[in-house]
Symmetry: C2
Subunit: 343 residues, 2 copies
DNA sequence: CTGAAAGCGCTAACAA
DNA sequence: TTGTTAGCGCTTTCAG
């Protein structure tokens, strides 16, 4: 009699109340872990099984104004950096009982704003994002709604939110200096998109190192581009074609690294004999490539873990006064075999 | 007077009805694109802006029993294969007006079932997934609810659902034969996890090719493992240590490929002089590695696109009788420089 | 084209 | 411990 057919409506709390002869509120309490008489617990549990009951989250959210889900928004679902962080955060939040809605915005600010809107509509209880840097209306709304917000990788000036960064400036400054000390005088850089915080800061490190070292700078040595492999390929080709005397190159991203490697291989240029190469990230590949590529390693695990920790903390202390914190995590440089001396 | 403060409640359709002096239903119709008198349209639009109104999706879902979101569930958010497909599907569905909830289950069947449950609770209107192969209770529920379901990469026997596969068996059968024709007699294989459809079928292709070629088979040449880089590293080491006379190896996954490459490099074994290597996927890396790696290329773009198409189709024809279809997409083999002849 | 009213499934007082 | 009840914000008849 309580059988269900293909396509029939889900059973509700009401059905199971009817089935057990108990009140809705009792059933609800059971479901939410409240105290219910043992005999009734059993009855309810059985009814739930028999009727195939499953809580309707839409109704629950509507009532409680909490969705128990966190939104995560990243620029590029194809990027190893993004997805690794994603994966770590998801792990931690799942453990804490939160669901996760993952969105990518394809490095497109317009889509970024659309996805934020989507997440807003889904009433996520918190948001972790790698922003472009643009301050969208929706971000202000998250803040206005007092929804916990954690920013990763790139800050949002003027936005009061926990922010997790790495030492972009430092790392590229030091690396440039390191190359200089090895005798390099014509050092190229592929900073990616310099309107994005990481690109801008890494470029800045390179630039200031040049200034401090009193190394004159040829702007052909700076090839701004997008972040993808094809961008890296093009940028590297320009760099190589425009600077016959280039001896080293600093590549500021994973995708760019792939592209650069492709271009260099095609031209039959030898690393590190003809050109020294250093790259951010290049996870996995740096080790197996020959020569092994020297890279700046970001603490991805830590970033993800910290992001999850912070959002959980904010969630737990909601309503209380809070002061946004910025964390600047150290990267470290692993010098493998792609950097040589200039004589 | 309609100002809002930090943390104040969102304004609702009711507020904007009050603000404009119109009825709820009129406002609702406006929001849903119904016909409303021009003067009122303007009033409503303005009120929406002033009050910062945003539709509450929980309420909407509760009422309509549709969420306008599709769930996507994949085994491994760190896998290039998975995330590329993800990204493509997301694109298409977003264009069609659907939101997307992406989940990973970390190759863990238990978590797979938890995530399915999460998606079920979120009342997704459709589900696209790469399953482990286990038939969870939740999958049955999706089907019972008449929720469109599209399976990718691995089928679910007995489940009536659109399924998108590639020619795993064929591709590895042919590749094994190809290696045989080049003189290889000791061909190793790293099929990954042979309880997973793709691993099983690729192994089967290898095995049947051996049988058909009357090539005796040494079981040390088959190293079953997980799918990650470290699994590939271990499997390759075993393969290499156990078979001093091995001349070729077929690697059945991206992560495995990274691991195999690492092991081979460490042992200073030359490709293809000492060992020939062929690998599934190895996206991006196959081209830039030296020697360039010969790979079996899966039509990832097409898989993603087809998955999106199918789910959209199913969504549009909901309720109508439907017959599940299985698509088997062709892979193609790109022979680069990692396979040599045996004399 | 507009308005009144019912109710989706659930939670959370409050009363018993 | 259990039951009654009032909505959460929205869509959707059905009248007007």
């Amino acid at each position: 009699m309580y059988s269900y057919f293909f396509g029939e409506n889900m059973s509700t709390i009401k059905d199971i109340a009817k089935h057990t002869g108990l009140a809705l509120s009792t059933v609800s309490k059971y479901i939410n872990g409240g105290s219910v008489r043992a005999a009734n617990r059993i009855k309810i549990a059985e009814a739930i099984k028999v009727l195939g009951y499953r809580r309707n989250e839409a109704a629950r959210s509507l009532k409680t104004k909490r969705s128990m889900t966190i939104g995560i928004l990243v620029p590029n679902l194809k990027s190893h950096f993004d997805t690794t962080i994603l994966s770590i955060i998801e792990n931690h939040l799942t453990d804490a009982g939160y669901g996760v809605i993952i969105c990518g915005y394809h490095q497109n600010p317009k889509m970024e704003s659309e996805k934020l809107n989507f997440l807003l509509q889904k009433q996520v209880d918190g948001l972790i994002m790698i922003p472009t840097g643009q301050i969208h209306q929706e971000i202000l709304e998250f803040i206005k709604d007092d929804t916990p917000l954690v920013l990763i990788d790139r800050p949002l000036p003027g936005i009061e939110a926990d922010t997790i960064l790495v030492d972009n400036f430092q790392s590229s400054y030091k690396l440039t200096t390191f190359l200089f000390e090895l005798g390099h005088r014509k050092i190229g850089i592929m900073p990616g998109n310099d309107e994005i915080f990481t690109g801008k800061m890494r470029l800045k490190g390179y630039l200031e190192a040049h200034r401090d070292l009193r190394l004159s700078l040829d702007y052909n040595l700076v090839q701004i581009s997008g972040w993808d492999m094809k961008d890296g390929y093009e940028a590297a080709n320009k760099l190589l074609n425009l600077n016959s005397d280039i001896t080293a190159c600093l590549v500021c991203g994973d995708g760019l690294g792939y592209g650069a490697l492709k271009a260099i291989q095609e031209k039959n240029i030898k690393i590190p004999e003809d050109i020294s190469l250093a790259c951010y990230d290049l996870i996995n590949v740096a080790e197996i490539f020959r020569p092994r590529i020297s890279t700046i390693v970001q603490p991805i695990e830590k970033i993800g873990q910290l992001a999850a920790e912070r959002i959980l903390h904010l969630l737990a202390s909601k309503g209380k006064p809070f002061k946004a914190a910025t964390f600047k995590l150290p990267t470290h440089f692993i010098d493998r075999d792609s950097i040589g001396k200039v004589h």
